[in-house]
């Protein structure tokens, strides 16, 4: 009946169980076994830099979702809406970061006046007599360039809406029937050009006019009767009545000073910071709504988030008319590396990276460390665990259980949004009906595999990360071993089932050990009733 807790096997077991549950140790061993198996049997494919990178990246992205849902699961709730949150946040991010290019001075043609050289345009454009005008991406004939003769504020009679204000522009040439619709834009003469690259640019172009509003990332459209070029501007400098543009591409051999230039302005709907901020804010609001519905309206978490799953998916599809969204190459140097970038450790002789850690993995590490600290070291973390086990006792202990539950749902949707942003940036093609489908189940499965119990109160962050890694490695195994990917779900399902069964068996062993330890403890008490057991060393 020793009280030497520091040395006996029980205390070692207890110590281990205190920090990492036996289940996590179990799946960690399984993960190591599968990784080892793949490394030995498929070294060429598995150990390939790209494969490892991909594995880490997917683990990171799904891991973030898993950590989020783990918080809700620990409160004995569930969040089925994560997949749709991922889809919605991807769509919203793409919407918020929509980039439009438009000529600096342009107007829509709404009608020809008779068969004359006059057109009605809207909105009121800043055209002046003498300006050169061309139809935007329209005619390329030699007479495509028009000169403005006069500009007059006028009204245009419509059959349905009556008179509408419009500008009547008169040109020097007679217009064609094709010119009834379209867009006209001011165009400028090319004064000179240099088709030689320097340190920063590939070519230099000088055009007429003082274009003070041109900035890097804006573009210039160049036309002649045969061709059209659309080149990104690296820098613009105004000198009197001419503007020098440094360009991102060579002008080509066919270019000459007969070409005309239309400066194009780039318009981004929001700055990156406010786009991400808005997505986070919306996710925050959704999390609060989930939490309020669960705590104040007393609805079941399953039902609330099932409705969320359907609702957000529908909204995502409706917002963009079910059209796939993307970022093109607009944010390749700014935002996208967050998801696609990597930290290169070693390089191959041919210059490609042999071993690299994708940036999302660092994001996962950051999220996991913060989440683990929050769960294990803060007051709120302990509250989440306590109310997951016994909400009533938590309430009687002076815990605002409703607020704590809401916090868990907010963490879940916020991490869902972070995951959604990263998934969107990574894929760069967001199908509103597909993006994030079933991701909630991956996240929940990883959390359960990692030691969370749907009964609540149980689970840790490390386990969730390992659970995610195991699922992604399995996925990798299916690909590398050439197993039909139609079997993917079946295999993952089977592994989770085996994991849960193994957990239950382990749980019984632990319970038995505990009973033995308890009996020993009772024996101490029973044998020496007047005395208390010594306090074990801490």
């Amino acid at each position: 009946m020793s009280t030497d807790y520091s040395l006996n096997l029980n205390s070692f077991f207890r110590l281990l169980a205190r920090y990492v549950s036996p289940k996590v140790i179990g799946i960690l061993i399984l993960l190591i076994l599968i990784v080892g198996y793949l490394a030995i049997t498929e070294p060429d494919k598995f150990l390939l830099g790209a494969n490892i990178q991909n594995l880490l990246r997917r683990t990171a992205l799904f891991g973030i979702l898993g950590i989020g849902v783990a918080f809700v699961i620990i409160t004995s709730g569930i969040d089925l809406s994560i997949g749709s949150i991922v889809g919605l946040c991807g769509v919203l991010l793409a919407l918020f970061l929509t980039v439009n290019y438009a000529a600096v001075d342009q107007a829509d043609v709404i009608a020809l006046k008779g068969r004359q050289s006059q057109v009605y345009v809207q909105p009121t454009a800043a055209f002046k007599p003498g300006d050169l005008i061309r139809y935007d991406r329209g005619r390329r004939a030699e007479d495509a360039i028009l000169t403005v003769k006069s500009v007059k504020e006028s009204e245009f009679e419509t059959k349905k809406k009556g008179a509408l204000p419009a500008t009547l522009v008169t040109f020097d040439k007679k217009l064609l029937a094709d010119d009834t619709y379209g867009r006209i834009a001011k165009t400028y003469k090319v004064l000179s050009f240099k088709n030689t690259p320097d340190q920063t640019s590939k070519a230099t172009l000088v055009i007429q006019g003082a274009h003070n509003n041109l900035a890097p990332k804006d573009r210039v459209e160049l036309n002649n009767e045969d061709g059209l070029k659309d080149i990104r501007i690296i820098s613009a400098s105004v000198d009197g009545d001419k503007t020098t543009l440094k360009l991102d591409e060579e002008l080509g051999d066919d270019f000459n000073d007969k070409w005309m230039a239309v400066p194009i302005k780039r318009k981004q709907r929001m700055t990156i910071l406010s786009a991400v901020g808005w997505v986070a804010l919306i996710a925050l609001a959704l999390g609060i709504i989930h939490g309020l519905l669960v705590t104040k309206v007393n609805l079941q978490p399953f039902v609330v988030t099932l409705c969320g799953l359907l609702f957000y998916r529908g909204i995502s599809r409706w917002l963009v008319d079910d059209q796939p969204q993307g970022f093109g190459s607009e944010f390749d140097e700014t935002l996208r590396p967050l998801a696609t970038g990597k930290f290169v450790l070693t390089t191959n002789p041919d210059g490609t990276s042999a071993l690299a850690i994708p940036y999302p993995f660092f994001i996962l590490l950051g999220v996991a460390i913060l989440a683990a600290i929050f769960l294990n070291k803060t007051v709120y973390g302990r509250y989440i665990q306590a109310l997951g086990r016994n909400e009533e006792a938590a309430r009687y202990s002076g815990i605002n259980t409703k607020r704590v539950t809401i916090v868990a749902y907010v963490i879940c949707t916020l991490l869902g949004a972070l995951g959604g942003i990263l998934f969107a940036l990574e894929s760069n093609s967001i199908s509103p009906s597909e993006q994030g489908n079933f991701f909630e189940l991956y996240a929940i499965a990883a959390a359960v595999l990692g030691g969370c119990s749907l009964r609540g109160g149980e689970g840790g962050i490390f386990g969730v990360v390992i659970g995610t890694a195991l699922m992604q490695t399995l996925n990798n195994l299916i690909n590398l071993k050439g197993i039909s990917d139609t079997l993917e779900f079946a295999i993952i399902g089977a592994v989770i089932l085996i994991g849960v069964i193994a957990d239950e068996l382990l749980r019984r062993i632990v319970a038995k050990r505990r009973a033995v330890a308890q009996a020993n403890a009772d024996a101490i008490i029973i044998e020496k009733p007047p005395e208390r057991p010594e306090n074990p060393p801490e």
Binding site: K377, G398, N520, A523, R532, P536, E538
Partner: protein, 504 residues
């Protein structure tokens, strides 16, 4: 009825049961005659539950014999126990409360016609057993619509329907009202007269005195002694249970209370909106709240503590009006509540002693950025284990595995670590053994001496009589009367509690 040993219906001979590292039962002997009510008493951990599990076939003894009708039997499964006519009525009821009464009585052995359940036979047969236990309900009543006392009767009816000859009742009255308890006693007595033998386990010595034909006392896994009918009295039972005389079981010392620090004015609870409550507690005073179960005592405490919202009224702490929208507000005002249901409301059973003791103080003790103050939690835990004499092998023991008395001390510990000015206790000694009870009484005494105002609800008359300076007696949501120490008597309390003062 003869006391000849050969007439024993059930006999336990020299049963020993060892668990790893501990001997739970050592050479236990027990005999039960036909039509006898044998009370089995002892402190928690004395081995009563282990023996009951052995008799019910849940566990097997390592040594010794069980004889039924003087023939050795092997009770190696629950089914075997049922077949032999031994039925255990659990402390926690095992009914499917979404099904009706008849379905529960015949659960698992439904009479059938052509493979389908023969409902009419179930109802017909069930009625007969319901009559036997004096239940005036139809067998097609849904169980969840019945009060807890009647549900327990259904458990008994179920046992009878299995031709039980030995009924083991483990703390059957722990969740019953006085009226239900009375009804249960009637049933026990009528079963006895039908020749059913009953082993009655209880901490309530008053019940034992009323019901038992004989008392067997266990202590530390061994026989501590038997008492024949005429020897059964409170002191004798306590002496055998704890192995020593408790001359000063209740140790309330004479003292002078301080000024009023807690006052409730016209408080209206949502359960009893017609009756505003008024009372006050002075520093260092122990106020008992007596009354029958369902008199509104628990509701009053819960409203005061902010668990339930009050309809109207005022609560004054140190003369300052406060309002409690949640337990957190009450805690911040210096109030603590040890709730009636410690497993549900008092503790997070699957958490450790340390985590439970730390729980209410987490917010108050937090360091920067909401970080938990681990060292403070550790210190409080060690302090409380020490002060309250909590018997736990180490601070990280899961509280589920502690005895009832020690669990209750953990509940007390989590509140005392906050040093409350006002301590509300709801049935503080329910279901815990005599030794722990006495420790809790002493603790109340010590706290009162330190100036804590204590308000405690109790259904045990002796506790009320022994511990309270002033007693509030509640009847159907009202405070029917207030008794000072010199007016306090069992008769006076019952007079008020049963509403006779009102009728008069």
């Amino acid at each position: 009825m003869t006391t000849d040993a050969t007439q024993n219906l059930l006999e336990v001979r020299n049963v020993t049961k060892r668990f790893p590292g501990v001997i739970a039962l050592k050479d236990i002997n027990l005999s039960l005659q036909k039509g006898e009510v044998l009370a089995l008493i002892g402190e928690n951990g004395a081995g009563k539950s282990t023996l009951m599990k052995i008799l019910a076939g849940v566990q097997e003894p390592d040594d010794g014999q069980i004889l039924l009708d003087n023939k050795p039997v092997k009770v190696d499964s629950c089914k075997k126990a049922t077949d032999l006519g031994i039925a255990l009525i659990h402390q926690e009821l095992n009914l499917a409360d979404n099904l009706d009464v008849g379905a529960n009585i015949y659960l698992g052995r439904e009479p059938r016609i052509l493979g389908l359940i023969n409902k009419s036979k179930i109802y017909r047969d069930a009625q007969q057993y319901l009559d036997m236990v004096g239940l005036d309900i139809k067998p097609d009543t849904l169980v969840h619509t019945l009060p807890i006392g009647q549900q327990q009767m259904i458990e008994i009816a179920k046992a009878l329907s299995q031709n039980a000859r030995v009924l083991i009742m483990d703390e059957p009255t722990s969740s019953l009202s006085n009226k239900e308890t009375e009804a249960l006693f009637q049933v026990v007595k009528s079963l006895r007269s039908r020749g059913v033998s009953i082993i009655y386990i209880s901490h309530r010595l008053g019940e034992v005195k009323e019901l038992a034909d004989r008392v067997t006392v266990f202590r530390d896994g061994q026989n501590a002694g038997d008492l024949a009918r005429e020897q059964i009295n409170h002191d004798a039972m306590v002496r055998l249970m704890v192995g020593r005389d408790i001359s000063q079981f209740y140790s309330r010392q004479p003292h002078t209370p301080g000024k009023t620090i807690f006052q409730v004015k016209n408080l209206v609870t949502s359960t009893w909106p017609a009756h505003p409550l008024n009372f006050s507690v002075k520093a260092g005073q122990i106020v008992g709240v007596a009354g029958l179960v369902g008199a509104g005592r628990t509701e009053m405490l819960q409203t005061v503590f902010g668990v339930d919202a009050p309809v109207s009224g005022q609560i004054l702490v140190d003369g300052k009006p406060t309002s409690f929208a949640s337990p957190l507000d009450a805690i911040n005002a210096g109030i603590a509540l040890v709730p009636e249901d410690r497993k549900q409301a008092g503790l997070v059973l699957q958490m450790t002693v340390r985590q439970n003791i730390g729980l209410p103080g987490l917010r108050r003790n937090k360091t920067a950025l909401l970080f938990r103050n681990q060292s403070r939690e550790d210190a409080d835990t060690i302090d409380m284990i020490d002060k309250l004499n909590i018997k736990t092998p180490h601070p990280d023991q899961i509280v589920q595995f502690l005895s009832g008395g020690n669990q209750q001390k953990v509940v007390l510990g989590k509140w005392l670590a906050l040093q409350p000015k006002i301590l509300l206790l709801d049935e503080p000694t329910r279901g815990i053994d005599v030794g722990a009870k006495q420790e809790i009484y002493q603790l109340m005494e010590t706290l009162a001496a330190q100036g804590v105002a204590i308000l405690f609800v109790s259904s045990e008359m002796e506790e009320i009589l022994g511990m309270s300076d002033t007693t509030l007696v509640m009847h159907e949501g009202r405070i029917a009367g207030q008794l000072n120490r010199d007016q306090l008597s069992e008769e006076a309390v019952m007079f008020l509690a049963t509403g006779q003062a009102n009728a008069a």
